[in-house]
Symmetry: C2
Subunit: 161 residues, 2 copies
DNA sequence: ATAACATTGTTGCAAATGCAACATGTATTT
DNA sequence: AAATACATGTTGCATTTGCAACAATGTTAT
């Protein structure tokens, strides 16, 4: 009795059936929805800037690299988004020390909080609608699974941020 | 006794805490991992082309717009990816009728199947490693939740494909 | 002390991506 | 029959995005 050695006998997974790829597809849908909402509702900031504003609302005194690590974009583009938000008056930047190094820290302004709050309120209905299709338990499992994936991948891959 | 009317009393959700945003972040991790794997292993096709090849392996005789709808990219870029795959000999294209309209259909070639199979085998270990961090039940719930989200969003948003 | 290295932010460039416009041909409406 | 709308694919352009190189400064090793 011999074990099969021909690779043809191995059941091949399809990448397009993998959780990673389904994640990518679903993320594209979410992004399209977000863009559509912004086109209807807001001409002042982009979805990207909105996410950065929300990040800054939850975290004070971050340097640019810390922000880049949170939003998972490179330092170059993070700087560009911050340039735009600063020009519009939604954030203010100042120089400070971090580990004895000079860094540019960023705080959200009163105007930034206001537009963030208004947009969040406007998106509340759609957000609730999206949450209502799940049970609370499924949302918890979903979020936990996503976090598990991120933790697992961050051990394998260097994000270069 | 009066009900509060001030919006300050409403608990505001943070977008960065929403499933959509966590999805986007997780998807960025997955994409970074995929790019890293391709850099190490494959110089012939890109991750994007890999996904299209896998889609074509699972579906015969798709026209370009059908492919675009499956991979969620616009017709323009879908055509460009197919141009590249055709030039490399991994797909073949032919004109055909669909609903009495002339369309360009696409099939994967023998060479396409071979490179797809080889890459899939090479990625098998990392795929299993990613799956092993979940219970089978959690994977089912994750995939079901993602599908639910896509279905819900596709009712609200027009993808322009 | 000096060289090598690490951290932070910026600039320039190239690749990827999306969008609008167009060309072609078919279906539908008037 | 003519006009209008729709479906498919292509082209051009503008925006987004990532990457590599650089400047400035602080840390570590030799």
């Amino acid at each position: 009795m011999t074990m099969p050695t021909n690779t043809d006998n191995i059941k091949i997974m399809h990448y397009t059936d993998s959780p990673s790829y389904e994640l990518e597809l679903t993320s594209r849908y979410c992004k399209a929805l977000l863009i559509q909402l912004f086109n209807q509702v807001c001409s002042e900031i982009s979805p990207e800037e909105f996410a950065v504003l929300d990040t800054l609302c939850c975290n004070k005194g971050l340097c640019q690299r810390d922000i880049a690590k949170l939003i998972l974009k490179d330092r170059a583009n993070t700087g560009r988004v911050l340039d735009s938000l600063e020009k519009k008056g939604f954030i203010k930047r100042y120089n400070d020390l971090k580990n004895n190094r000079m860094v540019r820290k960023t705080d959200i302004t009163k105007e930034g909080r206001e537009i963030l709050k208004e947009l969040t309120l406007r998106f509340q209905p759609i957000h609730e609608r999206m949450c209502k299709i799940f049970s609370n338990e499924d949302i918890l499992i979903l979020r936990a699974s996503l976090k598990k994936m991120r933790d697992a991948i961050s051990k394998i891959v260097d994000m270069h941020i």
